[in-house]
Subunit: 229 residues, 2 copies
């Protein structure tokens, strides 16, 4: 069936995101190292705190920043100075102000698609941060629907499609995360396109199911959409 | 014109919220006092940090918790121990797990209204926290639309009504905050009912415009709605 609606993930599909987190993780290790045992595995410890906080804090920079503060006190057994913790909060605030850096091809492709399809940006994370990024992205004028949600699972997609009157058989979701962008959409009868990003957050990793449409770059998306009948 | 849709604010309209923040502010002052000058005006300092962070961090408990950490380092000139800052983060996490305490009459009134109107919960704050509170409130089964937004201004209400196909002349918004629940809805041609709460967050304070429908308790809402033709 013809595709009328294209759903687009945002972080690491429209703009770079994971790199900012990984840069901050590396910086966190440098800053905390002087207060830790030499064999403290700082990346793993921070990651563990982040994961255990997801059910309560959700996704996004504010959750990540609170986890950095918590992990810093934990890994240093309270030896970290308060001023260093204030630096962590400041760094989180810088992440929120980081320029929106579109992936190669995004501006052209979104403009091109907007002439032929209805576009929906469907992203998880922090409400205020994702709204700010969208506003600064220059893409908002081409987009009919924006949905910022807490988790992208089957129930969420059903709800989003329902409330925007989007027939699932005329919908395709495009994103870099198999777990959030591809598998739940296939499970409810929609189509999905995987565009892998160079970096994958460990939390989003799932085994590749094999038969998923996969593109090397968003530049290949218009042709792929034309091929769908 | 007949009312078909009733919009309900959540924090301090459906359940108690501001009290949890004010309790935490008082606790913050107790905890920080030993590390401060006796004339440090801790409440005002925390409030100032919170306000200056709203444009970047938005509303809600995670933003408030980051502001507590920032303010604690600032007011103590870095003398606060890291373990106390970890306590602030822990306290924020407790706030997120605080039981949902419905205001008197809410459970009855929402059940009653659900038989006669479409209900929309329209709230700002933290996505994950508001979703959790709604899930735990027992009210979700009566509600057709949930909108968690970053700011409740005229543009937001227009957008929410538009995307849910709610005619503004058949919509009434009910809430405790004149600034967020009443004035913007009146400005776009809707109706609004003010139900003041015992505590008002300073940030939400505006002068009362005088001619706004005001109820003492949500228990009076069904009669007021019946009186509207």
């Amino acid at each position: 069936m013809t595709i009328d609606w294209v759903g687009l993930d945002a972080d690491d599909t429209l703009w770079h995101s994971e790199g900012v987190f990984q840069d901050t993780q590396a910086w966190f290790c440098d800053v905390l190292e002087p207060f830790c045992d030499p064999d403290a595995n700082l990346v793993a410890r921070l990651d563990a705190v982040e994961r255990r906080n997801i059910p309560l804090l959700g996704y996004g920079v504010k959750a990540f920043t609170l986890s950095m503060v918590e992990a810093a006190v934990e890994v240093t057994a309270g030896r970290v100075p308060a001023t260093v913790l204030a630096e962590l909060v400041e760094r989180g605030k810088q992440m929120l102000q980081h320029p929106v850096d579109l992936l190669d091809g995004v501006a052209d492709v979104v403009r091109e698609l907007a002439g032929r399809y209805q576009l929906a940006v469907i992203t998880k994370g922090d409400l205020v941060h994702q709204e700010h990024k969208l506003q600064r992205s220059g893409l908002l004028e081409h987009v009919q629907v924006v949905e910022i949600v807490n988790e992208k699972d089957e129930a969420t997609y059903r709800h989003i499609l329902g409330r925007n009157r989007i027939p699932v058989e005329r919908f395709v979701m495009v994103g870099n995360a198999l777990r959030s962008d591809v598998l739940p959409v296939l499970a409810i009868g929609g189509r999905a396109v995987h565009i892998p990003y160079a970096l994958t957050w460990a939390h989003e990793h799932v085994d590749h199911p094999g038969d998923v449409a996969t593109l090397a770059t968003i530049r290949d998306l218009p042709d792929w959409l034309r091929s769908q009948v």
